[in-house]
Amino acid sequence: MIISVASGKGGTGKTTVATALALSVGYCQFMDYDVEAPNSSFFLKPYIKHIQKVTIKQPYFLTETGEDFSKCAEFCNYNALAVLKDDVIFFPELCHGCGGCMLVGPEGAVREKDVEVGEVKKGVTSPNIDYYMGDLKPGSMRTVSVQSALDKAIIPWELVIIDCPPGTSCPMVFSVKDCDYCILVTEPTPYGLNDLKLSIDVLEKMGKPFGVVINRDGIGDDEVEKYCIKNGVKILAKIPNDKEIAKYYSIGESLVEYDKNWKQKFENILEEIEKDLVV
């Protein structure tokens, strides 16, 4: 079973919930798909055994051959290529590495090389968690390529917990596309509510079952709760607003370490999700 932990708004507590769930259950594959800003390692403290470079293929053009590369530029849907009279200007940050230019260009004059866009780190953490995290290289736009490398490691019949990136665009959708259930973490503020509605919209369109965790409960207002009740959205848990929890967070201590009672609560949440999915 794959559980994705997502949120529209950033900083609402995705990683807090995902890591606490993993530590409470004790066994799972934990995947940090927030490859632009991965933070789960602070809380899970994995022993990293293996680092794999993530590369994409990018073209280079043998202009000294005097060949005409204009077909390559015409083909490129990302405008990563401009062909001048006797030169080719390539914009690597726009290239998706699709291989199209090599396909349509003069034979042998378009070559490809591997370009690093990030890393996947694999490790273990106690009690029985297989840990994977993607880390995008600063300056690269290939978020999805790093996530795609994580996809390969997923063993869907085990319990898989995915810590998602914020937002509702491609990196978020990519992280929930294979999940059986999505936990949406929000906070009771107008920003939290606005972005919760956006992420519910995404999940409903994708047909994914979901429930909500309200973090920093007590701050702001009660509009999020009212919205959930009115729309029949299940509230899985409320984590109180507490400066002590924030202090624990600041040094990378999990919610379960702050208060052992959360272990039982998260086990119950998992049970509830499993029950939901059977029905």
């Binding site: 800003a37 083909f75 978020t143 795609s148 665009s169 491609c170 924030a246 967070y249």
Partner: protein
Amino acid sequence: MKQMTIISGKGGTGKTTVASNFIKLANDHIAVDCDVDAANLHILLEPKIIKEEEFTGGAIATVTGECINCGKCEEACRFKAISDSETGIKINPIRCEGCGVCVYLCPANALELKPDRQGSSYVSETKFCILVHARLNPGAENSGLLITRIRNTAEDIANDKDLKLIIIDGAPGIGCPVISSLNGVDATLIVTEPTLSAISDFKKVYEVAKIFDIKVFVCVNKFDLNLENTKEIEDFCKSNNIKLIGKILYDDKVSIYLSQKKFIVDCSESEAAIEIKNMWENIKGYLYGR
């Protein structure tokens, strides 16, 4: 005309809160919300939309003809968007990046690239300035393109009305939307927090800002949450010659002001108000001082 972008790396550190207060304090300016997939600037600014435009960026491969199950498309697709091509054909729109390789290779002309309506962009009036914002459709891919489009719109308006400044609220992360909202700006403010997570993300997003050679300012929100971590941020700034221009106290009331649709700078009892005003003076001094 000057441009400045507010970013953070980690989400939820206070980008939009700082941005909206700067927007209230500034003069002769225009605002852009570049967090196009979870925009929040409109919540405090309460814009009235005066112009809406459809945004079509990119395309998705679609089966429109008779597939002969040759499997060529599946083999060539670098994004693993095509499956079951030898028994039927399935295209996963989430994975498809619209490159067109499959369309080119299909011997049966069974595939086409269909333009993908990916969102809308808006020009709005607010009490303080014009706001250019957008809504990217769920799962849409071209956030960078949409951001470039709304930034161009803002630049046109600013030139036309002879405005001095564009204030840009950025997205979390370090990827495509962040890069697109940093490209060509004069300065950036990174809002961070004294937590291990936020510090790690701050350093990553700083790497990105360095690539663009932009003047970087830093603000530590909730600095008293962990003074040791705040010290680490201060030391990092010092050794990298980054100007730390503000430290904001941890204050739960900020969320209450937000729920009441109040700007912090209007709440005279809030210490954060003074700090944000000072930060703004500092940035203004840099932008207009030269």
